[in-house]
């Protein structure tokens, strides 16, 4: 195999999986290390009886303000969690449990993250009903689909902002208005992929619950937040309430018990502050790189782009390669490219991407898909390396796969 392609850092493959996770920004790492190494900042933020706790509490609150400011929320609306998965779980189980007497119906879509779909499945097992909306072939939900799915007993609508596989951006503002008109259905939005890629205005979108992640925006893993709307306007008869998942200390207004990890929270706060100040030139740079990547891949031939082009962030590009088996494609490029694949190739029972299947892609095309996640560290040479590797490997695998030919067993080939 030709290896004359530029590699990534320290001889590692070129990293194009920023939608999965991002490297910690050095400034964030430094801020976290300072907390960890400090002789005065190690206190329990909940210890109000002494200055050690007070210092840590101040750090946590500053980070809370940073996160809130980055997404257009009030600091009091930020509830720290261990990540977006916990935030999603807290939203779904929290609303379901608290409002179980009002109704037991939830609306979501088939292209949500597993951290939403799996809790929905669990709620179904516990007696709730869930409507799974099917997006169009570009991955977009029509807000009218949501409106039509609402019932008197609907207590929650959960729709993600930026899809983690295809980068499609849903019309959250329209959903917020629909849920507000309904009056009884709260709107939860998984926005783990959004910050730094497209603007977030929590208050302006009419969202009630929003899940955020630290490590998707160059912050640390193991920390996230759930925004819980505190507003009470004319369309809402009462403020949103949640039943907690964890009990034992009453931290985070009783919604999330447990001692806060000050250094993690500080890291996420700074990461969000940095992400919210990303310049438009960076977005343009990413868009140019994505365009270059798509043009390079399209030139191979038999490459299909997945998801809406016009309603998506430039940081993600998802494509399917015709005539190539998924596991072989990943194995062929893995030494040189770190990307995500459309199938879980850890066994013979690989499951094709359910997101792409929901968009109508065949099983084979779903399995032979790759997701490229571009980020701050992505350079033009990274993109060129990806194009070079795939321009070599896709035709090679197609050659091995041969052309479609009808064959009867044991027949002379002459």
């Amino acid at each position: 195999m030709n290896t004359a392609v530029q590699m990534g850092a320290a001889g590692m493959p070129v990293y194009l999986d920023h939608a999965s996770t991002t490297p910690v920004d050095p400034r964030v790492a430094l801020a976290m290390a300072e907390v960890l190494n400090s002789e005065t900042e190690f206190g329990n933020p909940a210890s109000a009886s002494h200055d050690y706790g007070g210092v840590a509490h101040a750090l946590v609150e500053r980070a809370r303000c940073q996160v809130a400011a980055a997404v257009g929320a009030a600091p009091a609306e930020v509830v720290w969690t261990s990540g977006a998965t916990e935030a999603n779980n807290l939203s779904l189980f929290g609303v379901a449990q608290y409002y179980r007497e009002r109704g037991r119906h939830i609306v979501t879509s088939r292209t949500e993250h597993k951290a939403v779909l799996d809790p929905c499945r669990e709620l179904e097992r516990r007696g709730w009903q869930v409507t799974y909306l099917v997006p169009d072939r570009e991955g977009l939900l029509d807000p009218e689909q949501v409106a039509a799915a609402l019932r008197q007993d609907t207590v929650l609508v959960s729709v993600m902002h930026v899809n983690n596989e295809i980068g499609v951006v849903q019309n959250i503002g329209a959903l917020g208005a629909i849920c507000a008109r309904h009056g009884g259905a709260w709107l939860h939005v998984d926005a783990a992929q959004s910050l730094g890629k497209c603007p977030i205005d929590f208050a302006g979108l009419g969202v009630d619950l929003m899940s955020l992640s630290g490590h998707k925006v160059y912050g640390p893993k193991g920390v996230g937040a759930l925004l819980v709307a505190q507003r009470k306007d004319g369309l809402r008869s009462a403020r949103l309430q949640l039943a907690p998942l964890l009990y034992g200390g009453g931290q985070e207004r009783g919604l999330r018990a447990g001692t806060l990890a000050t250094h993690q929270v500080v890291g996420m706060g700074l990461a969000f502050e940095l992400a919210s100040s990303i310049s438009s030139t960076e977005t343009v740079r990413i868009a140019q790189l994505q365009r270059r990547l798509w043009q390079g891949l399209a030139a191979i031939g038999g490459v299909l782009r997945n998801g809406s082009v016009s309603h998506s962030v430039p940081h993600l590009l998802n494509v399917s390669f015709e005539g190539v088996e998924g596991e072989s494609l990943l194995a062929a490029i893995r030494p040189q490219l770190a990307v995500s694949t459309g199938s879980a190739c850890n066994s013979a029972l690989a499951e094709p991407s359910y997101v792409l299947r929901a968009l109508g892609r065949s099983e084979r095309l779903s399995e032979s898909s790759l997701r490229f996640g571009l980020g701050r560290t992505t350079t033009q040479s990274d993109i060129d390396a990806a194009i070079a590797v795939l321009s070599r490997e896709v035709p090679r695998l197609r050659h091995i796969a041969g052309a479609q030919s009808a064959t009867a067993p044991g027949v002379p080939a002459t």
Binding site: M1, G323, E325, G326, E327, S328, A331, A332, C345, N346, S347, A348, L349, E363, R364, E367, H399, I400, A401, G402, Q404, S405, T407, P409, G410, V411, P412, A413, T414
Partner: protein, 123 residues
């Protein structure tokens, strides 16, 4: 998924990719592309001895590697009604996960579909 060195080598540089034509060439195929695995062997045989072999595979790295290895190892040998090496031996040699054993059976089906009619061919 991790692959052993032999699998990686034969996947990255598989010998005998392609098709054969001419007298004494027998073709066997198994699997379906739509189901994610398809293998085809072309075996050229004279008086029961394999003269040349080619394969095509729309399949995983293990399947490609095993198919390439079989074609390479078998040339010059007498064809029989079994694989040149048993499915279990191939599994051990290429460190094929147990849940991919079915893929080796598809290779076996494709091989025998070409080999069995070729055994009696005398040109």
């Amino acid at each position: 998924m991790n692959y052993n060195e032999l699998t990686r080598r034969y996947f990255e540089s598989p010998a005998n990719v392609g098709e054969l034509s001419g007298p004494g060439v027998f073709r066997g195929a198994a699997g379906k592309r739509e189901e994610g695995i398809w293998v085809q062997f072309d075996l050229q045989c004279v008086s029961g001895t394999l003269q040349a072999a080619r394969f095509l595979a729309f399949a995983c790295p293990h399947t490609i590697a095993v198919s390439a290895w079989l074609t390479e190892q078998s040339v010059g040998r007498t064809l029989t009604r079994t694989l040149p090496e048993s499915v279990q031996q191939l599994r051990d040699r290429f460190d094929v996960p147990v849940d991919k054993m079915g893929r080796l059976l598809i290779i076996e089906d494709a091989w025998l579909a070409a080999a069995v009619p070729a055994i009696d061919y005398r040109g």
